[in-house]
């Protein structure tokens, strides 16, 4: 009898015990910094020792700050490219790879996924050399295949920095998201295709009627994580552009701006204001994405 009540008791309290490490660590290293950084965003600081209260002054300054505008513009362009170039490419590759007659699927999957194993910092070091004018392999390949001049300055010409960044991120992430789509495609019930075929649907109609609804949950997941990921872009351009924002700030992203104002110039207050503006932007966009894709309909968490 006592044993039974012990069991009931520990069944009641076990979940609290199990989440407690998370709660404790999260309070100290999550909740506290969140409130602290909200507070910091109301000050102009010079390191931790000098604080001057400015109220919403940082946010007001932000609105008229041309560098902040540049950072927003670059980040949004990058995010749009991620969503509209990278995801369709990933899906396309996944569809090709899920053809039943295909030989060498394992090899292709591994090949496309391989770049993901290389961390952003290392990718940036590598591509920094690949994009070099005259001697870099990118220019040499373009010269050999398309007869382009071999002294294109990918990382020195302000209008080419973004394409170079997008290319690098495609290299890194197309294969990664492909894996998700591949799994989703495998999960689509094959009988549905047969049924659609019987109804006389062509491939495109099958895609719209069967594939799209079948992979929707995964697609939404990939869409939202890819968007959040691209809004947090930092290490790749920072190292690729030799620890700078690049010529004409063409590689300045929001997180890089946050880092530079906070940890290079030493104004943690202004940096926090940049961070919170970014966080709110990402939140709004994610919610919007989930709404238009109808991700909430099936949610019963």
């Amino acid at each position: 009898m006592r044993e039974a009540s012990f069991h009931r008791l520990q069944h009641r309290y076990a979940p609290y015990l199990f989440v407690s490490p998370f709660i404790i660590l999260f309070s100290v290293f999550g909740v506290y910094p969140i409130f602290k950084s909200l507070l910091l965003s109301l000050y102009i600081t010079n390191g931790p020792s000098d604080h001057v209260f400015v109220g919403l002054g940082n946010f007001k300054f932000l609105l008229g700050d041309p560098d902040f505008h540049t950072a927003v513009k670059n980040t949004v362009i990058f995010a749009l490219c991620s969503v509209f170039l990278q995801l369709p490419l990933s899906l396309g590759l996944a569809i090709l790879l899920s053809q039943k007659w295909l030989k060498g699927r394992e090899f292709f999957r591994l090949a496309f996924f391989a770049p993901q194993l290389v961390g952003q910092a290392f990718v940036a070091v590598l591509f920094g050399v690949l994009f070099v004018p005259k001697f870099g392999i990118v220019n040499q390949a373009l010269a050999a295949v398309f007869g382009m001049p071999d002294d294109t300055k990918w990382l020195q010409n302000p209008s080419l920095v973004m394409p170079a960044l997008v290319f690098t991120s495609l290299w890194m992430y197309v294969g990664f998201n492909m894996i998700y789509f591949l799994a989703a495609l495998q999960g689509v019930d094959t009988e549905l295709y047969e049924a659609a075929k019987v109804d006389g649907a062509n491939s495109w109609q099958q895609f719209l009627a069967v594939t799209v609804p079948g992979i929707r949950p995964v697609a939404v997941f990939v869409l939202v994580t890819a968007t959040i990921g691209s809004f947090q872009l930092f290490e790749l351009p920072y190292i690729l552009l030799n620890n700078s924002a690049g010529p004409n700030k063409s590689g300045l992203t929001l997180v890089m701006y946050l880092f530079q104002t906070g940890f290079v110039s030493g104004d943690l207050g202004y940096a926090s204001a940049v961070g919170w503006t970014l966080a709110i932007g990402v939140l709004v966009i994610s919610l919007f994405q989930m709404r238009i894709t109808g991700a909430w309909k099936g949610d019963n968490a």
Partner: protein, 450 residues
């Protein structure tokens, strides 16, 4: 093997953690306790200080000194952090000129470096060194750093190729002469006379300084939109834009030197430190290279400028300020050592009396037997000052943005209306800098109306 219930992955990481844990415990090196710690960001400095330190330790029984090589970006961010937080700071540290200003952002009393003004003035160093070099490390009249170098700029040229094209570098006196010669040899996309960036300020600012301009005046006011700034831009843009351009760039140092070897680039701006990377990266060019003083803006004008620099600072928190000062003097003022270091780095010291050492007068076969040290030493006293501000990095970036816009304008419209456009565009950039400066609550530039 009995199966591990949580799978291969968990098993692998348990093993990895154990093995690496064992390794790091066994190889745990307690950091050697030394009397003084020094940070430097340059490989070459690190090597030469390591050679010089044993003598210093021998002369100071019981004193140990450790020199550490720290990445240049890491020096700035770590030092910022260490000054503010309760961290061990290095006693002595070398800081790059571009980031020096960022340490002067807060109130004067919160600068993390020791004020060296009295020590420099009392010891007579003020007179013995190239005075313009103190400018960057001075805040409101207080000197916080000892200059490591002078970094006069000349041009390093492919003498052989220029001679083949009938150009004698000794006959070039002014930029006009230089441009005339450049037009003869420049073939866009194939061969350029001079390294000139159309998107960054590294080369543009060499010209700005040569003309006596700068980003800030001694009082910390942003001035790059003054007449000198405008004239520099008007002169520079046609060299990198439009159909008559004579210059281009390829980015990093090592790539540029490769381009020199291939004959794609005939001349590079060469502050003294850069000649070493050429000797190291393209040894095959020995004897083909020569140095030429910077062409003057007009006949009789100064024939040099400056690019880069390093200061040595002493942390306020150090427990041995006097010993640290002695170390600084030992490293920066000992003429015999300076001569040796010059051989290693090609960098001439700001200490004028050191230039009399024979090493500075030796002819260098790599540079067509020119006496490299003497070439630079002759120009060193004329090196223009660069005044410091916490906003130098910002100003550089903004001036660069103006450059990019001007280049775009010039490419599209040529000289048509260019002057008006450039004037407005540079002012816009400078206004953006002033807007930031005005926000700093800790100190206002003297004489500003805020």
């Amino acid at each position: 093997m009995p199966t591990f219930p949580y799978g291969k992955a968990a098993f692998s990481f348990v093993i990895l953690a154990l093995v690496s844990g064992l390794f790091v415990t066994l190889h745990r090196v307690e950091p050697r306790k030394t009397t003084l710690t020094m940070w430097t960001f340059a490989d070459t400095h690190y090597e030469s200080y390591r050679k010089a330190l044993p003598a210093f330790e021998a002369a100071h029984p019981g004193v140990t000194v450790k020199v550490e090589h720290v990445n240049i970006q890491a020096v700035t961010s770590r030092l910022q952090a260490a000054f503010h937080a309760n961290l061990n700071v290095p006693d002595v540290v070398e800081v790059e000129i571009g980031s020096a200003g960022s340490f002067f952002r807060g109130p004067l009393e919160h600068v993390g470096f020791l004020d060296l003004t009295d020590r420099i003035k009392k010891s007579g160093l003020w007179e013995r060194m190239v005075q313009s070099r103190f400018a960057t490390y001075t805040m409101q009249g207080h000197i916080f750093g000892l200059p490591h170098d002078v970094h006069p700029v000349v041009l390093a040229c492919r003498r052989d190729l220029l001679e083949k094209a009938g150009i004698d570098i000794n006959s070039i006196e002014t930029w006009d002469d230089f441009i005339k010669a450049a037009r003869k040899v420049t073939i866009p996309g194939k061969q350029y006379m001079l390294e000139l960036s159309d998107s960054g300020t590294d080369n543009l600012e060499v010209m700005l300084f040569q003309r006596g301009g700068g980003y800030f005046d001694p009082e910390g006011r942003c001035i790059f939109d003054n007449e000198i700034g405008l004239q520099t831009m008007l002169f520079y843009v046609p060299l990198v834009a439009g159909k008559d351009k004579i210059g281009s760039t390829l980015g990093s140092n090592q790539i540029l030197t490769q381009a020199v070897e291939q004959g794609y680039m005939l001349c590079l701006f060469a502050p003294d430190w850069r000649t070493k990377s050429m000797e190291r990266d393209i040894p095959r060019m020995s004897g083909n290279m020569a140095l030429m003083p910077l062409p003057a803006v007009s006949k009789g004008g100064i024939r040099t400028s400056t690019w880069g620099g390093t200061m040595l600072g002493i942390a306020k928190k150090t427990t041995h300020p006097d010993l640290a000062w002695e170390l600084a003097q030992y490293l920066y003022l000992n003429t015999a050592d300076l001569a040796n270091r010059f051989k290693d780095t090609n960098i001439i010291p700001p200490l004028k009396e050191a230039w009399n050492e024979p090493a500075f007068k030796e002819p260098r076969p790599y540079w067509s037997n020119q006496p490299l040290g003497a070439v630079y030493a002759k120009l060193a006293p004329q090196v223009p000052p660069q005044y410091s501000s916490p906003y130098v990095v910002t100003a550089k970036a903004k001036f660069g943005e103006a450059l990019v816009s001007c280049v775009q304008y010039y490419n599209a419209n040529g000289a048509n209306g260019f002057e008006d456009y450039a004037r407005k565009r540079i002012k816009q950039s400078a206004d953006e800098v002033r807007r930031l400066v005005a926000r700093n609550p800790y100190h206002k530039p003297q004489g500003s109306e805020n």
